[in-house]
């Protein structure tokens, strides 16, 4: 869903704040920033959760704002690769000269990132978790019943947006 018409209201609603950051990717060639997160939705039952895919298009002037840990990759992060958990703590949105400007602040360890963009698309999905064993949960889309991976609630988007050359 493209929501360019009312971006100010969207970011004022603080929908993304305090959500768990699952994945962040900057695809410079495609001018895309992708964020996969959990949204805080207090209206859902305990065994459910809302996942959101946020896609910024026409991205330029991307800048990674490093935090205390310089070891995080500059343009890519996936929570499954780290023990530490990160949530989106602050977002600053503004508009100037026909571009939208946004600053994401994650936390002191991670830092954040900022960029200009032209379009924003979001897609949400509500999933229900079923405990498979002591450590694993299986998730099902409440609308379609389809099973999905907590770590890739919308599939492996990094792979589909920026496919790697085949290794022979």
């Amino acid at each position: 869903m493209l929501i360019n018409n009312d971006l100010e209201s969207y970011f004022e609603s603080e929908q993304l704040l305090e959500g768990l950051l699952i994945e962040f990717e900057y695809f410079a060639d495609q001018k895309i920033v992708l964020i996969i997160s959990n949204i805080v939705n207090w209206s859902l039952k305990k065994d459910a959760g809302e996942f959101q895919k946020t896609v910024f298009k026409g991205v330029k002037s991307f800048e990674r704002l490093f935090g205390a840990n310089k070891g995080f990759l500059e343009n890519s992060f996936h929570e499954k690769d780290y023990i530490s958990t990160h949530v989106i703590q602050d977002i600053k949105f503004s508009q100037a000269n026909g571009d939208f400007h946004i600053v994401f602040y994650i936390d002191n360890f991670f830092g954040g990132f900022q960029f200009l963009f032209k379009d924003l698309e979001i897609e949400t999905k509500i999933g229900r978790g079923v405990k498979a064993n002591e450590q694993e949960w299986i998730y099902f889309d409440v609308e379609t019943g389809a099973q999905f991976d907590f770590h890739y609630p919308f599939g492996n988007l990094a792979k589909s947006i920026n496919p790697q050359p085949l290794q022979l």
């Binding site: 959990n38 859902l44 065994d47 602050d90 936390d107 907590f150």
Partner: protein
């Protein structure tokens, strides 16, 4: 106030074993030497940062928006988010909350409602 209570197996890694009923005044006195206290980035509270740059405790004051209209109404008294030295989120008893549990449960356990006065 300040005993270990139900947090004997707390994984906080410092003096605060749990956050049940703790007042802000008491909590603020527990900050280990060498940690920094800085305003949180949204300007709604404060946070402690340890020697390695990990945020260990963050307090967010009640939102100025009308709580009855806000998605944050259940945190009308303010809330904490608490992490151990590895950056894992903790519940009110200082126990690690796995992040792959259903998101609503994760959010409920890791948004620790301020119970102090």
């Amino acid at each position: 106030m300040g005993g270990s209570g139900s947090g004997d197996d707390s994984q906080s890694g410092f003096g605060i074993r749990n956050l049940h009923g703790k007042s802000l005044n008491w909590i603020k006195k527990q900050k280990p030497d060498g940690w920094q206290e800085v305003p949180s980035d949204d300007g709604r509270g404060w946070k402690w940062i340890d020697e390695n740059g990990v945020e260990r405790l963050r307090f967010t004051r009640p939102n100025k928006k009308n709580p009855s209209n806000s998605q944050w109404s259940r945190q009308a008294n303010g809330y904490f988010r608490w992490q151990n030295e590895r950056g894992e989120f903790l519940d009110v008893d200082g126990k690690v909350v796995p992040r792959n549990i259903p998101p609503s449960e994760f959010q409920e356990k890791t948004h620790i409602v301020y119970e102090g006065s």
